[in-house]
């Protein structure tokens, strides 16, 4: 697990030995495996967190999926385009907040 030391991004206080980051905090090139999908209410969204969670799941953001952040938008590095298993998906960082990645494992992408 020495790869975790190289992760300097915000990791939040998640009690886990894994290096967990939110997909919304990942930068270009970061890859990992989805360990948790669960949207939270940030007060800005027009839809309920549960609805957002289900939309993420329907799009393939599901525990176990492999993700690599491929591209960032021009302004504010937002939105982002990720490889999600064998698909490509674009989403805003706000929607990506509910997706937690374990970046210690190196998925073969």
């Amino acid at each position: 697990m020495n790869a975790s030391s190289s992760v300097t991004l915000e990791t939040q206080a998640v009690p886990s030995p894994l290096a967990l980051i939110r997909l919304s905090d990942a930068r270009k090139g970061v890859s990992g495996r989805v360990v948790k999908v669960g949207a939270e209410d940030d007060g800005y969204g027009a839809i309920e967190p549960d609805e957002l969670e289900r939309r993420l799941l329907e799009m393939g953001f599901v525990e176990g999926a492999r993700i690599k952040l491929l591209y960032e938008g021009f302004i504010g590095r937002d939105p982002i385009a990720v490889r999600l298993d064998d698909m490509r998906v674009a989403l805003r960082r706000r929607e990506a907040r509910g997706v937690w990645l374990d970046v210690t494992t190196e998925p073969a992408l």
Binding site: G45, A46, V62, Y71, M87, R88, A90, L91
Partner: protein
């Protein structure tokens, strides 16, 4: 099977977006297609028919693409309600063809699992199978069929491969199970159930599909360039620039042709009929009116050609990605990009294209700001005033002052649309923003036949839907401008004595503070028919004869009668004013309510008045009186 003879069996096509569903629909039904609307909702209803080798006729319904039956947009609601048999005025289909992109099975497997709960017989069509084979993707069809519990057919819709197999499967399903579809056991899945379904789909995928030996590398390579923050934006701008060039230059000869055809038709009909109200109605109302809108059809078709080409290629999702932050800053969805782009040709197809936007709020915001985009109908008005009042000077050695003013008018439209969108979002939606989660499909070469068919369909829909509204508006405006007629021997143009003249004169006290004369006020009323009609109306009130060269004469005439400040105020007015009754009619139709067109009219006319007022008084202060 006696009932089969009475009501033909019906099948519905369901699938993820970008699965080639429409191509398969085209391959199945050929030219036997009908595009209409579902009752009460503004979702397009595409139905066709196929004839089986045994001569049976089966109706085919092309349902909007979806990732799940849990509907998130009006389109997806139609898909859900259609397969559940809940759609008003629609009978439930007898079977479902689930269309899948064979190279991208992960999400569609979950959809198939969901679909098996609705109690209808299903056949899974693995479309784009040629691409899967080229990539060396190995799919164990028997095993997959057994795991899912549905028959599978491999197809290449664009080459019409596998269509016979699919038809015979459909025939078997509808024969065996005709009218025996079971009660639906489907209900909206919870997050937990979605996870379970995903796990199941994942397991099936692992068991039945070997990853491709030669995966598609083109998509990655193209995206490296097209989604690059700098190069991507530059390419997007270059594509837009090329599109606009094409829209305006390629369309011109055809537009001239249509325009002169309608003039000839008007003259022909004019010769046939005696002078009077009927002749005036037909020639000046119906023929001239319809011609003034149909003249935009070539531009609209060219615009749709590019949009459909880019959509089929897979670029439109990328454009939405690149533009989302800019649009998002104004509270618009990345998908609002295409409708707003169309609005540069004409707001009517733009407003009709907002159907691609999932959410109601985003869609309404886009509809409300669409007419602020500078449509082609403003161009004749702009060019008339600019050439008459703006000196033909060159600035800094290479910038034409007239061109700069034109550019400024376009810019004012775009900027105001973004600002209005922000305000609408703050006032009406209290800042809430819709999620943007969008698949970036693999790039594919568009199929020329499908593109041609889609462009033709778009054009037909524009003529059909807009046509009825436009025609009624044209007749109304004609009536206002013609009735009552001028008394015999009265001086001045006849329009002066009509209702339009009365309205113009009545509005004068309100319009005088923004520098409008009564002639300008009167010209605004027939200008409601379509913006460019104001040019003709001005010619009428200034009694400038028609025909070629009239524009130059009219320009000179205006330069004599109008002050610079009035002319600039008139331009500012035209940037914002809701001078298009047909747009308002289409908004009523698309939103199913008078509230939104009323709101649109109100805010646009307020903006127009304020802008013209400021421009007029600033210009006066600067000596433009």
């Amino acid at each position: 099977m006696t009932d089969a003879a009475i009501a033909p069996a019906r099948i519905a096509l369901v699938g993820n977006p970008n699965s080639g569903k429409t191509a398969l629909f085209n391959a199945l039904t050929g030219s036997r297609q009908k595009v209409a609307n579902y009752a009460g909702v503004t979702v397009e209803r595409k139905e066709g028919a196929l004839i089986t080798p045994s001569g049976r006729r089966i109706a085919v319904l092309d349902l909007p693409g979806t990732y799940s039956l849990r509907a998130r947009s009006p389109d997806e609601e139609v898909t859900r309600d259609a397969v559940l048999g809940r759609l008003a005025g629609e009978t439930r289909p007898d079977a479902i063809i689930c269309v899948a992109d064979a190279t991208n099975l992960r999400l569609v497997l979950r959809l198939v699992i969901e679909l098996t709960q609705v109690g209808l017989p299903i056949v899974l069509a693995l479309n784009m199978y040629d691409i899967a084979q080229r990539q060396g993707l190995e799919i164990d069809l028997d095993k997959l069929s057994k795991e899912l519990g549905v028959p599978i057919v491999t197809t290449v819709a664009t080459r019409k491969r596998g269509i016979e197999d699919l038809v015979s499967q459909v025939e078997a399903l509808t024969h065996a199970d005709h009218h025996t579809g079971m009660e639906s056991g489907w209900r909206e899945p919870s997050a937990k159930e979605l996870r379970a379904a995903h796990l199941n789909a994942e397991r099936i995928l692992k068991a039945c599909v070997k990853p491709p030996a030669r995966p598609d590398t083109w998509t990655g390579r193209l995206d490296d360039v097209l989604l690059n923050p700098v190069a991507g934006i530059l390419i997007l701008l270059a594509i837009l620039f090329f599109m606009f060039q094409a829209v305006f230059s390629w369309a011109q000869p055809v537009m001239d042709l249509i325009s002169s055809a309608f003039t000839l038709l008007g003259q022909g009909v004019g010769h046939l009929l005696p002078d009077g109200m009927l002749r005036s109605l037909l020639v000046d109302g119906v023929i001239a009116g319809v011609g003034s809108i149909l003249v935009f059809l070539p531009q609209i078709m060219i615009l749709f050609f590019f949009i459909i080409l880019l959509e089929d290629f897979g670029y439109m999702a990328r454009a939405a990605f690149l533009i989302d932050r800019i649009m998002g800053g104004a509270g618009l969805h990345g998908r609002a990009f295409i409708p707003l782009l169309s609005s540069f040709a004409c707001a009517i197809p733009g407003i009709m294209a907002t159907r691609v936007i999932d959410h109601r709020r985003d869609r309404l915001t886009t509809i409300l700001v669409a007419p602020l985009m500078t449509c082609s109908a403003r161009i004749p008005v702009y060019t008339l005033i600019i050439s008459a009042f703006i000196p033909n000077k060159t600035l800094w050695g290479w910038v034409s002052l007239q061109g700069l003013v034109m550019f400024g008018l376009y810019g004012a439209g775009i900027v105001s649309a973004l600002v209005v969108a922000v305000v609408i979002r703050k006032i009406f939606w209290r800042g809430a923003s819709e999620p943007f989660i969008m698949e970036l499909p693999a790039y594919k070469l568009p199929d020329p036949m499908n593109v041609a068919r889609s462009v033709f369909q778009r054009g037909a829909i524009f003529v059909q839907r807009a046509g009825t509204i436009i025609l009624s508006m044209m007749v109304l405006i004609w009536f206002l401008s013609t009735v009552p007629g001028a008394p015999a021997g009265a001086p001045g143009p006849a329009i002066n004595y009509s209702f339009a003249g009365m309205i113009g004169h009545a509005m004068l006290p309100i319009l005088a503070p923004i520098g409008f004369s009564w002639q300008m006020a009167v010209a605004l009323v027939p200008g409601m028919a379509a913006r460019e009609v104001a040019v003709g109306a001005l010619a009428t009130v200034y009694s400038v004869g028609g025909g070629e060269g009239a524009r130059g004469a009219l320009g000179a005439n205006l330069a004599q009668h109008w002050s610079m400040a009035s002319a600039l105020a008139f331009l500012a007015w035209y940037v914002f004013a809701p001078q298009c009754a047909s747009t308002l009619g289409v908004v009523k139709r698309e939103t199913n309510s008078w509230l939104w067109p009323a709101l649109m009219f109100g805010y646009m006319i307020t903006l127009a008045y304020i802008a013209a007022f400021i421009v007029y008084h600033v210009a006066l202060a600067l000596g433009g009186g």
